[in-house]
Amino acid sequence: MKRFLAILHARNLEFIRDRAALSWGLIFPTALMMGFALLFSNGDQELYKVGVAGELNHPFQDSRYINFIPVDDVEKAITKVERHQLDLLIAPEELRYWVNSSSPAGYVTEQLLKASGGETLKASEVSGKEIRYIDWLIPGVLGMNMMFSALFGIGFVIVRYRKNGVLKRLKGTPLSATEFLMAQIVSRLILILFVSITVYIGCHLILEFSMYGSYVNLLFVFALGSLAMIALGLLVASRLKSDELASGLTNAISIPMMLLSGVWFSLEGSPQWISFISNLLPLTHVVDASRAIMLDGASLLDVSHHIFALILMMFIFLIIGVKMFRWE
């Protein structure tokens, strides 16, 4: 324990003093979020979006600048109205429509509907805050930042330490590989959570995200996700001695992971094989679970399949990583 704490303390000092890396870890995701917020601040430039459940035989459908989207699942579509993802939802057979009272676009489309003779339809008002792209994006960006920090911050540093002989020096002491690796994991976990919380709070103050779930659950998912990804970083770094190779390999893992985990865009409706690969990536589970918690107010039970997947991956990576680890 004393040895573990000695390494942990030294490592934490190193992280705090490596100002450049630390500020980059904070600035990069924040700037990214701000950039996207700015980019999407004008809302949807295109059309008003109206969901239609069933067949619409109504003069309203000739209105210009409205994109009519067929919907199958009325329940889901109502949620979309709540989140301002649809401006209006019409179910012609039920002679009903749904509109969000707090949505300006909803008000406009409702007026258009009424103007084209929609008085026969019964109005149902829903309410709910708008889910903007940036609300949807923040779990992805935090997850991505976590992944880069875990893979590069752990994997890379260990390979560098192996290459320049820091690990060899430690091998000459009573320190065991497990003690050393655990200290690396814990110090990186503390750092990632600190950075994630800081970025979250910073962005929240400016952009005000939707958060329907529990912060404790969110933190739990983040911590678990960080552990799984740190373990992956350790696995990559367990034997490599060349930092060029480590860099290449880490990039080869992190970039597809970023693209295939639904950080930037939803992978719903993508081919089967993509979603299969996607489910093998820890980042997918972090992003999906935290999105469910933030946007749907999901409980841990609701996202238990993601949690299970993350725990499983963490153990697999960790066991192989520790077994394969070499000081030199």
């Binding site: 004393k2 390494i7 000092l13 320049n164 820091v166 060899k168 020096r169 000459g172 002491t173």
Partner: protein, 301 residues
């Protein structure tokens, strides 16, 4: 009495290359044991096998009669030839880090004073001069009050003053009864510090003993050196054939070196030749010569 450290038929192959070939020796408690040899002789490989850093291909290293393990780790101190330390830590923090890795550590203030680290304690460990760095690495090697300390070429690259300073530190460590294993390129260093030395080449031990004994064993002659221009070519010719007491050892562009068992007779010879003795140099043969004699090559090759 069991030796403190025993090396038994130690062998290390790297693919087809034999780095260390079946060597055995033992080290007594309190000794300063020197390992000499040209680069690539297998010194570092041997030391690192003794430290438990490199796994031998075959053979054993015994510490207090047992294979090296946790007890050895806790009681040994190591200074590698090339050591990197964790970034962004000051000297003091680095010492504390290593102190934290051992069940018991020496008094840090005492260690800092002994190794003269006071003036740069709060400096980043990557911003030290060569001598400061070696002193810090020695302090790390001593941090657990070790019974045995390995120093792999600790003074290579240091200026003469830093080197002498470092020798004093090593003598101080020896005076406390600590056993030291020292590899070096400098014969002077081995002669100054070591009780026993081995000379290695091509993975073998080619000479072993105390420096004084080794010199007595190998050399009972002196070297006489003088400028070539003082001699007639015919005299040089006669020197080519060894006489009963002297033989020509070395002929350079400007200098001639004769090995002699009787300096008086050699000088008589030279006086007869009318050589100006003002330029004459006579010296005893030293470890460097011994080294050249047994390995046939220059130490720093």
């Amino acid at each position: 009495m069991t030796p403190l450290l025993e090396v038994q038929s130690l062998k290390k192959n790297y693919h087809t290359n034999i780095a260390v070939d079946n060597i055995s020796f033992h080290i007594k408690k309190g000794q300063c044991f020197g390992m000499l040899g040209p680069n690539g002789a297998g010194k570092t490989t041997t030391i690192e096998m003794m430290e438990g850093i490199i796994q031998p291909t075959s053979g054993d290293v015994l510490y207090k009669g047992n294979p090296i393990g946790q007890l050895f780790r806790e009681q040994c101190g190591i200074q590698f030839q090339h050591t990197a330390l964790q970034d962004f830590l000051s000297v003091r923090e680095t010492l504390k880090l290593f102190a934290g890795l051992y069940p018991e550590s020496s008094d840090l203030d005492d260690l800092i004073e002994r190794c003269h680290l006071e003036s740069f304690l709060d400096r980043d460990n990557s911003k030290l001069s060569g001598g400061q760095r070696q002193r810090m690495l020695l302090a790390i090697a001593l941090i657990n009050n070790p019974e045995i300390v390995f120093l792999d070429e600790p003074t290579t690259g240091l200026d003469p003053q830093s080197r002498h300073n470092f020798w004093d530190l090593i003598k101080n460590v020896l005076s406390r009864g600590t056993t030291i294993i020292l590899s070096t390129h400098y014969m002077e260093e081995a002669a100054e510090l070591c009780d026993e030395i081995i000379i290695m080449d091509h993975g073998h031990i080619i000479a072993q003993g105390s420096p004084v004994n080794l010199l007595q064993q190998h050399f009972n002659e002196r070297l006489v050196r003088f400028p070539k221009k003082e001699l007639s070519p015919s005299f040089i010719e006669t020197l080519q054939t060894p006489s009963a007491f002297q033989h020509l050892l070395l002929q350079e562009d400007d200098w001639i070196e004769i090995s002699t068992t009787d300096v008086n007779k050699t000088i008589e010879c030279l006086l007869k030749e009318g050589v100006d003795l003002n330029f004459l140099q006579i010296r005893q043969r030293n470890l460097e010569d011994l080294f050249l004699d047994v390995t046939g090559k220059d130490l720093r090759q």
